[in-house]
């Protein structure tokens, strides 16, 4: 049953903060990702949620090896990516691809759709040049675009169509894992539904694994098998999508879930909302103990003392020492 394809072991990505012009001194460290362990199964959709600045995009970039890891390891089919040379990373990119948030910025405006989609095929020499055109048509059909649009430029497409092109580009090398960093956040509701359907279809058809990053919990619940909730560079809750979003345990997840506006006036007006005071604290000097305690309604003295580990609780994992009490 368990067939992990991507495994993160205590991954850390830190950035150093420098000050001064002549004598630049390191004055601090931003712990953007600080000890994340996760596994993604073959054919699974893992949702990753959290507020801006919680480190979800940094984690995505770290998995992709677009950022160097400070500690820990990223394993793709048991191969450690953090130790690989540049050429081995290049080979690994065939199996690991990314879709970015903003389809207006992630496509080169001076490249036609054909150029964009054929580039990975040529760089990785996956098919003879004579077959490239046929493969590009196939990719376009796969994501629901007419192959006749091949010679057009990105500006001639709508946002939803551009995101389809970006997905086709990620699929060009038949990867095993796709990391999608907020792929529907920039899109309208009706277009968002089209892209979500497309991603769900591709996962089913091609047996892909998908790491789906978003801040919209209803979208994440819809598409994901399991959900990980991040706060200040750490995972605070991890479990199946239905468990985590319908019955959240960690106080932060509870607040996050209660903040989703419901498209139902009676339910929306009747429910009790947990208001989180303030903004997330700065990751340069995170609070001691549980990073969430300054905003937590259930915090006690002992929450300030030690960092709670991500521990099994009922059918999920929660990083809260009061998980059973509240």
């Amino acid at each position: 049953m368990s067939d992990p394809i991507l495994e993160l072991r205590d991954v850390k990505t830190h950035f150093s903060v420098h000050q001064g012009i002549l004598l630049r001194k390191q004055t601090g460290t931003v712990k953007a990702v600080d000890g994340v362990s996760l596994t993604v199964q073959r054919g699974e959709v893992l949702g990753l949620v959290g507020e801006s600045g919680c480190g979800k995009s940094t984690l995505a970039r770290t998995i992709m090896q677009l950022l160097p890891t400070t500690g820990g390891s990223v394993l793709l089919e048991s191969k450690n990516l953090t130790e690989g040379s540049a050429s081995s990373i290049h080979a690994i990119r065939r199996d690991l691809q990314m879709v970015f948030q903003d389809p207006y910025a992630s496509l080169n405006p001076r490249m036609t759709v054909f150029a964009t989609l054929s580039e990975p095929l040529l760089v990785h020499r996956v098919c003879p040049p004579a077959e490239v055109s046929a493969r590009v048509s196939e990719l376009m059909e796969l994501v629901g675009l007419a192959p006749s649009l091949m010679q057009k430029y990105p500006h001639e497409f709508s946002g939803g169509q551009r995101q389809r092109i970006a997905i086709a580009r990620a699929l060009a090398l038949k990867p095993k894992v796709i990391i999608a960093d907020e792929p529907v956040s920039a899109l309208d509701v009706s277009v968002q539904a089209q892209i979500l359907n497309l991603l769900a279809k591709l996962v089913r058809q091609m047996g892909l694994s998908l790491v789906f990053i978003a801040h919209d919990l209803s979208v994440v619940k819809h598409i994901s098998d399991r959900v990980a909730v991040m706060y200040l560079g750490k995972i605070v809750e991890l479990g199946t999508a239905v468990d985590v979003i319908d019955r959240p345990q960690h106080p932060y997840t509870r607040a996050l879930v209660s903040a989703i506006p419901l498209p139902n006036p009676d339910a929306e007006r009747a429910r009790q909302r947990i208001m989180l005071p303030g903004d997330p604290p700065s990751p340069i000097n995170p609070p001691a103990g549980c990073p969430f305690h300054p905003r937590c309604a259930y915090a006690q003295e002992r929450c300030k003392a030690a960092l709670p580990p991500l521990a099994a609780f009922q059918d999920r994992e929660v990083a809260c020492i009061r998980a059973g009490e509240i």
């Binding site: 709508s158 309208d188 009706s190 769900a200 819809h222 996050l256 903040a259 419901l262 498209p263 006036p265």
Partner: protein, 368 residues
């Protein structure tokens, strides 16, 4: 028609003033004695009544009918939601009211927007200036770019007061400080002298709200104020807008593409599509008994209304190109219920029940 009369009243040349008016009183007094103003004073007409607004953009590639015949009204203290996808004309509608349409290429082709007896579209620029920022305020989507990065928050906050009221700088600063505290900024006395970059996104949006409300407006226009924010911060900002509305008794026009935001906040909702209003109803009716096929489709495409993992309902095709004239109903090419008739005949926004208008021929004919 009452509305036509009001539109004309706004356009009348100002009568000669009997005595020199204080500068702060401004131009709206020029028609203080007009029937429209009289009616407005006694609450006989809505705070804002927009009739047949058409805003077109004349560009080299054609005429874009961004807003094409929009009409609605807003009562005092009411919250009106305007929902639609990008390009549906919701922002252009309110920008037209505020005189913020770049001209050229934009042009307001027709219509009137009578705010408390004054037609915002026809009044002289000075009269509009005395209303805008004083009696009607606006907050924008992106709190990162709508504050001036070169000016301290204090200077930006007191600017509307110094312009619109006869007030000393010290007194203005006192009011700015009180306002910052009211919008929930801790340690306001120290932070008021900070620059915008020293605030987080949610805090900047709070500063924007403080700036908009400092003149105690009668109408607040919020153009997607929470789209750029996290859900937790969005919840804080929505709560703040509700609280301030309770305290100041102002009316709010809330523009969003998120039906969830509308459901908790608004009394009434307008749904826009391709520059026209397709449905208008009170919030509960719109959510529980939507009539127009577009409203229904929009509602069904939200993931949380669907069982988990099921294929989401999608609207086929793309919104129409507003640079080409649309003869019949603009939604026809994407509508599963469309008939030949829909392609040629403009349905018009007609009532289906009291306070519930919609623009679908087949609903009007009782077929859906």
């Amino acid at each position: 028609m009452k509305t036509a009369g009001m539109g004309k009243a706004g356009k009348l040349p100002p009568p000669a003033p009997l005595r020199k008016l204080p500068r702060t009183a401004g131009f709206p007094l020029h028609n203080a004695c007009s029937p429209a103003r009289f009616a407005a004073l006694f609450g006989l007409m809505p705070l804002l009544k927009v009739t047949d607004l058409r805003t077109y953009f004349h560009t080299r590639t054609g005429v874009y009918r961004a807003v094409d015949g929009v009409g609605f009204h807003l009562e005092r203290g009411e919250t009106l939601g305007i929902v639609g996808e990008s390009g549906s004309g919701k922002s252009v509608t309110v920008h037209s009211l505020m005189g913020l349409i770049p001209r050229p290429p934009g042009r307001i082709e027709s219509g009137s927007a009578v705010f408390d007896g004054v037609d915002l579209l026809a009044c002289p620029p000075a009269a509009l200036r005395s209303i805008r920022g004083k009696r009607i305020s606006m907050i924008f989507q992106d709190p990162m770019t709508s504050l001036n990065p070169y000016l301290r928050v204090s200077d930006q906050l007191i600017e509307p007061l110094l312009i619109h009221e006869k007030i000393s700088k010290a007194a203005a600063l006192d009011r700015a400080l009180a306002m910052l505290e009211a919008v929930g900024i801790h340690d306001a006395a120290r932070r008021i002298h900070s620059y915008p970059h020293e605030f987080s996104g949610g805090m900047r949006q709070r500063v924007m709200i403080a700036m908009a409300l400092i003149t105690r407006p009668e109408l607040l226009i919020a153009d997607e104020p929470t789209t750029a924010l996290d859900v937790t911060v969005q919840a804080q900002i929505l709560e703040l807008i509700k609280k301030m509305q309770g305290e100041l008794g102002m009316a709010v026009i809330f523009i969003t593409h998120d039906l969830g935001v509308v459901s908790g906040l608004c009394d009434r909702v307008l749904v826009m599509y391709a520059g026209r209003i397709v449905e208008s109803a009170d919030t509960r009716t719109l959510f529980y008994h939507p009539k127009h096929p577009y409203t229904r489709a929009l509602q069904r495409s939200i993931p949380s209304t669907q069982p988990k993992g099921a294929e989401l309902f999608t609207i086929p095709g793309l919104p129409p190109d507003v640079s080409k004239p649309i003869a019949g109903c603009a939604f026809t090419p994407r509508c599963v219920y469309a008939t030949e008739f829909c392609k040629t005949r403009d349905p018009g926004l007609l009532p289906v029940a009291s306070g519930h208008d919609q623009a679908c021929l087949r609903v009007q004919a009782g077929e859906l």
